[in-house]
């Protein structure tokens, strides 16, 4: 579903690569966790997948479509939730959802059903008629999540999705991710919360200094690490070695 072929990116004239020759393949029906310390290149990688940052080298394929050659085709398959929910704060919640739904060409009935379902699930259904600038950070996050789920994405990409969510919404989001994978869809997300990654992900990649330093299922990661107890220990061991 998602394939990264040797993508690299450096910022400005700096020779230091924020992302350095990353190769990855994520299969359909997989929940893939993308881990790494601050500044390791997680967000940069995600931005290159969703079309916000052009790689200096390498290619990105979503369902066989080259993201940078046929952006429209690939964008129709993706939904993206950024780490910081900056959205049009002069619109009402419902206006924003309608806007996004129009962009994906979602039919009225399906749109209504999805908006009602997800806004209720995330407990923002009563706030939809308020202006977004009156929302808290968490509510904005939930609105962005709702908008990202309207188009039933083939590939759901989330950057630090658990930050700012209350426990119930966090639980619901994990359920949604699981459910999507059961339907054969793919979820790719970055996180700092080891516990979430450990329990939720089918496979995990750890990135440090722009390079993937570990990749595999929890079991595979355990077998290659000295400290075998938890993902946290494996993570600390790997990222300290660098």
């Amino acid at each position: 579903m998602l394939k990264l072929e040797g993508i690299s990116k450096s910022y400005g004239k700096s020779k230091v690569k924020a992302v350095n020759d990353v190769n990855l393949e994520v299969k359909s029906g997989e929940i893939f966790g993308f881990l790494g310390p601050n500044g390791a290149g997680k967000t940069t990688t995600i931005k290159m997948i969703v079309g916000l940052l052009k790689p200096d080298e390498g290619k990105v394929f979503v369902d066989g479509v080259n993201v940078w050659e046929e952006p429209l085709k690939s964008k129709e398959k993706i939904s993206y939730v950024p780490d910081n929910p900056e959205i049009y704060d002069r619109l009402k919640g419902i206006e924003y959802l309608n806007f996004i739904a129009d962009m994906y060409g979602i039919e009225k009935d399906k749109r209504k059903e999805k908006i009602e379902y997800y806004s209720k699930l995330f407990n923002i259904e009563n706030a939809l008629w308020d202006i977004i600038s009156s929302y808290s950070h968490g509510m904005k996050q939930k609105l962005v999540l709702t908008s990202a789920l309207l188009n039933d994405p083939q590939l759901f990409i989330l950057d630090e999705p658990m930050v700012g969510l209350d426990p119930k919404s966090s639980f619901n989001l994990k359920e949604i991710m699981r459910h999507m994978c059961d339907q054969g869809k793919t979820v790719f997300f970055s996180t700092h919360v080891m516990e979430v990654a450990e329990k939720l992900c089918d496979r995990i990649a750890i990135i440090n200094n722009g390079r993937i330093i570990a990749l595999g299922t929890m079991e595979e990661l355990r077998s290659s690490a000295k400290e075998k107890e938890s993902l946290e220990n494996i993570f600390l061991e790997l990222t300290e070695d660098e």
């Binding site: 619109l91 206006e95 129009d102 009563n126 308020d130």
Partner: protein, 555 residues
């Protein structure tokens, strides 16, 4: 104290972008921005020199009636009034609507320190307004009157402290205004009404000035003499209402005697005292106006009777984009004032100038009454110019700011981007057309057919104008703004757009003027539509490519 200094330093750095400027100058592609700014400034120099030359004549006029000192007072009045008027707008956006407020308020600093630092950076901004205005007056008075060293020394001090009093007044007025209009649920309404009142005042002021100049111009050869005499009266009246102008003037005029020194001390002293009062007041009232401003009223948790199926409406992507653009334009006060306010106010002011302009406008009125075609063509040209002046196309991508990512991840074609954004501009242009046609009715009688011609071709002409702006904006969108004012008022793209748009409309206007006596008017309209259509097609093709590549390249 260190906190205040650090705040001022940061504030200046943010406002004038020293760090950002250094950073951007290191990047080659930004260097041409500097070149462009220089060209834009250089192009203003000829008209500025004309103005200064005119002022020299005005000085001679005052000297003829032996009232040179009023010349200086006029300078002080004009500069300080300009500082006051701009100050009201600057203070409002800087104190209450800039995004950094959210970060500053929780810090362990006093309101007075926040206000003080913002005031300091506003002083620097105000020099850009005040220096070009006051300097010619002071220099002309000094050189033509062969003044000595003490005059220049006093001038230097007076010019430097000139923005102090008006800016203090603006700050106090705005702080009080924000405190007392902070009424739950009604504050947006009150502020919109106040903005409208302000605009009406500006229009009224414009009318007054027209009357005075019209009277002056009617006097023909004695123009400057009479203008001086009229201005003398004006200065006398206003001077009494605005003592700081008088103190500044007398400080310079009597620079050799003790009275000059006393007036200089008054001029500075009152400013400093006012500043202290303002700082003192800020401790009491700044937060009151602010807290209501960041805390938005919402109906969280309230039961909504709204039927969700009514709120869900399906639109084509370009319609949805146009709607979103219009909602944002209407709901952001800065955009509302500049774009939508602009297309309403400018035609009214133009019509009033023509209507009340006295004898000097007679030849123009004669032309208007002679030829309907000029009126129609002029109307079309006017709507076209508003197409770039409304700043909608030329800031369309800049206005996205931090939300730009949304536009880049949604599956929307460049075609829909173009159509949607052009439609938003055209909706506002329709409003412009209504007000322009309405204004034309004031000065010339036109038929329904003429009205149709003006509106249809005018709106059509707005398409290439908007696309011209969009082309400029997609090439260098200004996305890192903290205050929407920066996206529209401090955006160089607007200036570039104006220059390009003026050249385009001017060029077509010149062509029409050249052929109007030789060709039938039908052919001219046909040709005009042809040129507009061709420009639109070419610009569409350019934009289609540019939007695709820029949406990928921008970081």
């Amino acid at each position: 104290m260190n906190k205040t200094i650090s705040l001022i330093k940061t504030e200046l750095n943010i406002t004038f972008g020293l760090t950002a400027l250094k950073h951007s100058f290191k990047q080659k592609k930004n260097r041409w921005t500097v070149v462009l700014i220089s060209i834009a400034l250089l192009s203003l120099i000829p008209s500025y020199f004309m103005l200064v030359k005119g002022l020299g004549g005005l000085y001679d006029g005052f000297r003829q009636i032996g009232q040179q000192s009023y010349f200086l007072m006029l300078g002080f009045l004009v500069s300080q009034m300009a500082v006051l008027v701009f100050g009201l707008l600057y203070v409002m956006s800087k104190f209450y609507f800039s995004n950094d407020i959210v970060h500053l308020v929780p810090l362990p600093i006093k309101p007075s320190q926040i206000v003080g630092s913002k005031f300091a950076s506003l002083m620097v901004s105000e020099y850009i307004t005040s220096l070009p205005l006051i300097l010619p007056f002071v220099i002309i008075y000094g050189t033509k009157g062969y003044m000595g060293f003490s005059y220049w020394l006093y001038s230097f001090i007076a010019v430097l402290t000139l923005p102090l009093v008006p800016l203090v007044i603006a700050s106090i007025l705005i702080m009080a205004f924000m405190k007392y209009t902070n009424i739950r649920g009604k504050k947006d309404l009150i502020r919109t009404i106040s903005a409208i009142m302000f605009i009406i005042f500006v229009v009224y002021f414009q009318l007054m000035i027209n009357r005075i100049t019209a009277r002056g111009i009617a006097d023909g050869e004695n123009f400057l003499f009479n203008l001086a005499r009229d201005a003398n009266l004006l200065v006398n009246t206003f001077g009494r209402m605005w003592p700081p102008g008088m103190w500044g003037t007398f400080a310079l005029v009597n620079h050799t005697s003790i009275s000059g020194l006393i007036n200089l001390v008054l001029f500075i002293g009152v400013g400093v005292l006012g500043l202290m009062l303002m700082i003192y007041l800020s401790e009491r009232i700044f937060f009151d106006g602010l807290i209501g401003n960041t805390d938005q009223s919402s109906s969280k948790g309230k039961e909504h009777n709204k039927d969700s199926s009514k709120s869900i409406n399906v639109n084509k992507p370009y319609i949805a984009l146009a709607k979103k653009e219009l909602i944002m334009l209407f709901k952001t006060p800065i955009y509302l004032m500049n774009s939508i306010g602009g297309v309403i106010i400018v035609p009214i002011i133009m019509a009033m100038s023509l209507f009340t302009g006295g004898e000097d406008m007679a030849p123009l009125r004669a032309i208007i009454s002679q030829s309907k075609n000029y009126v129609v063509l002029g109307g079309i040209g006017f709507i076209a110019v508003m197409g770039i002046l409304n700043s909608i196309g030329v800031t369309t991508f800049s206005r996205e700011g931090n939300n730009f990512w949304i536009q880049r991840i949604i599956p929307i074609t460049p075609r829909d981007q173009i159509i949607g954004r052009v439609l938003a501009s055209l909706a506002v242009q329709l409003l412009a057309a209504v007000f322009i046609v309405g204004s034309i009715f004031f000065i010339a009688s036109i038929s329904v057919f003429d009205v149709l011609l003006i509106v249809l071709i005018g709106i059509f002409a707005s398409i290439p104008m908007t696309m011209m702006g969009m082309t400029i904006d997609i090439l260098r969108p200004m996305r890192n703004w903290t205050n929407p004012q920066q996206a529209m008022k401090q955006n160089l793209n607007v200036l570039i757009g104006l220059a390009v748009g003026a050249l385009y409309v001017g060029g077509i206007g010149y062509l029409v003027y050249k052929v109007i006596s030789r060709l039938s008017i039908g052919i001219i309209y046909g040709g005009l539509i042809g040129v507009l259509l061709l420009t639109s097609i070419v610009l569409y093709m350019i934009l289609d490519k540019l939007i695709f590549t820029q949406f990928q390249e921008l970081e």
